[in-house]
Symmetry: C2
Subunit: 151 residues, 2 copies
Amino acid sequence: MDSEQYMGRWISILYRYNQMYLSRELEPLNIGAGQHPILKVLFNRDGIHQEDIVHSTCMDKGTVAKSIKRLLEQGYIVKKGCPEDRRACRIFLTSKAHEIKSDLDTVLSRWTDIVTADFSKEEKVLVFSLLQRMAYNAEQYLLEKKVEDRK
Amino acid sequence: MDSEQYMGRWISILYRYNQMYLSRELEPLNIGAGQHPILKVLFNRDGIHQEDIVHSTCMDKGTVAKSIKRLLEQGYIVKKGCPEDRRACRIFLTSKAHEIKSDLDTVLSRWTDIVTADFSKEEKVLVFSLLQRMAYNAEQYLLEKKVEDRK
DNA sequence: TCCATTTAGTTGGAATTGCAACTAATTTAC
DNA sequence: GTAAATTAGTTGCAATTCCAACTAAATGGA
């Protein structure tokens, strides 16, 4: 097998190129590449707990806390205390966020179009399902490892 | 289309999980997740110029310079001036690097095995070719953009 | 009930990375 | 042949991210 044929190589290139694209495209909105996953989750389910965002984005809770801080500063979200659990907080989109929803969706789906430009319809569907399965397998492996470490 | 179905989401998850896996697995070798792409390129073509490494890894020249600095400190590579072009330098693997080649290859191919664990042989081949084409499309797009900006 | 454990969230530190500005050497153009 | 432009590489800065340590609140077992 060609020594370039290991999964991490292609994933790394695609991730880094995507980050470059997003930084440039989201700059006019004052949104960094790291903040958009949180907005996407909230557009789906507004008002969820910060902990839910952590799970939905598969990101570290520290990372999410910092991204939320920046979205607060930019006025895209507001934070409300949760009366049932005083440790927790719920995150809500502002009208400023709702105004840019379609812009954000356009930027994200354009990247999909760019990288799958020469794909057939079948290939476009296929690549999502393969990536989704890989992400699931990776997650399962890391979870197992974490459980092992706890022993 | 499901709002989770945009390419960047899966790529991001897979990239971040891979970085976690690599940091842990390469720690005993004192290699960070960011250094291994350079070693991989050198195992393929030892003694190439730093500029060649930049192109082969698709990474920024500043990033490569820093990773090379750490590999030098760890004694995995040596740097030699290039007499034909006194700005440039050539990078060579040390015996310490050759000793860990098979360990590194094992770690990298194990990740491929983990994420494609439930894939058929055909799917394993397919996913590489799809990722490769996506990376190529992304690169072409960003290159075009860069040329446009120069105007 | 009370103490131990778990959970939600914050903060500091370090690694990875891209960009921009810089130096020094080379190449190109006139 | 010299000045301008390009190229190889370094460095500082900022963004993204994970981890670990921490606080405060909630949960659970004796």
